[in-house]
Symmetry: none
Subunit: 221 residues, 2 copies
DNA sequence: GATCGCTTGAAACACATCCTCATCATCGAC
DNA sequence: GTCGATGATGAGGATGTGTTTCAAGCGATC
């Protein structure tokens, strides 16, 4: 289930958003000031943030640059073009002006959530499969598996490019920061172990081998 | 240099956009109708598409679902919320209403381009037939077939020169990097297997034998 | 220092791919 | 139409790749 954090001090708008988002099947958290938002972010780990600009404590413009790896949609009454441009170029993925049509906002949220996650994000999803790269826990519908550092790096790389085939040399290059001496034969081991752990979650084999090239994520039927 | 395709029949707006985008350092292509856009897309392979809705020939709503793997920003005078929602959920990454502020549009383009990872450049199309040389998957209207390395190399060579006849010796030369021991007799094998796989997609035989010379792609009726 | 977990390496096995050979079908020339 | 040559298809075997299991090295923790 996708998790959305609403950062807005306007209780009426926040309540309305919460109700609409919950109906859509999202999990919702709230923060009512900029400072509270910064405190809540590491705990909540949302998949997307709705950020108001005029906040008590710390303005939204100050909060935005501190959010890394999570897409932020700015929801504000400011209509000035320069504000929009600054915020979009400053890291926001979208900008919606109040008053807004809730259906349009929901559509824009859906667009952002279906797009590829940022490389420095800590949480990834691929169908029912979820990965927390910080705690190195992979899970499917509640069933969890602890991954080793290398396994987590491989799975993260695959989940960052869910449609592409990742060559073995690419994997070796990209995970060499963690374990420099990893060779192709040991890579087989890690993939094998990773597969085994994922298979124990729900019986599906999420990793597909592309013969002579590398590996690729595969969605279960 | 990033490449942007403008699909709009309004010459004034298109010219204005072209000028602004060129100043920003983008390379710009134009298409003035939906049908022209579909023809231009496989050739131009842009990084991003600006799509108007009211187009002669084929409406933008019909063009959008045929664009795969390239982010599309819809630029339209339609302000109805249902239109926006349909298009956003139908694959567009953003929706900007005319008249628009050029600076905001530029910012939104920059956001989409910074999010877009490397568009896989290894895709080829020939009529309804598509080939992804990275994943080695050939597909026709959703039906997919996995190809071997040599089969993929042969099909790629044919699709790179869709109008020409490719001699067998040419094929042997060009795929010798992948499979050095391929002889003329084994080439028959691969073409045969390739034909069989493609035939299972939609029943058509895309590969035509030119007697005494070589092979050539053939479009189904 | 012993234990545990992670990583690495080699070997066995299974399997996809590719080539060779044989057979049948098709085309062109006479 | 017949014949020779070329193209197409199928089966079998050799090669390489992928997967798994087992064992050993290494570092961290207790």
């Amino acid at each position: 289930m996708k998790h959305i954090l609403i950062i807005d001090d306007d209780v009426a708008i926040g309540d309305m958003l919460t109700e609409a988002l919950t109906l859509e099947g999202y999990r919702v958290s709230r923060a009512y000031s900029g400072t509270e938002a910064l405190l809540a972010l590491p705990q909540a780990r949302p998949d997307l943030v709705l950020l108001d600009l005029m906040l008590p404590g710390l303005a939204g413009e100050q909060v935005l640059p501190q959010i890394r790896g999570i897409p932020v949609i700015v929801v504000s009454a400011k209509v000035d073009v320069q504000d929009k441009v600054d915020l979009l170029l400053g890291g926001a993925v979208d900008y919606v002006t109040k008053p807004f049509e809730i259906r349009e906002l929901l559509a824009r949220i859906a667009v952002r959530l279906r797009q590829a996650p940022a490389p420095d994000a800590a949480r990834f999803t691929f169908g029912p499969l979820e990965l927390d790269a910080d705690t190195r826990v992979a899970s499917v519908r509640g069933a969890e598996a602890r991954l080793t550092r290398t396994e987590c790096a491989i799975l993260k790389l695959l989940m960052l490019n869910p449609t592409q085939v990742i060559t073995k040399s690419t994997i070796l290059d990209r995970i060499s920061l963690d374990t420099p001496d990893c060779t192709e034969s040991s890579l087989k081991m890690h993939v094998s172990n990773l597969r085994k752990k994922l298979r124990e979650l729900d019986g599906n084999d999420y990793i597909e081998a592309v013969w002579g090239i590398g590996f690729k994520l595969r969605a279960p039927e």
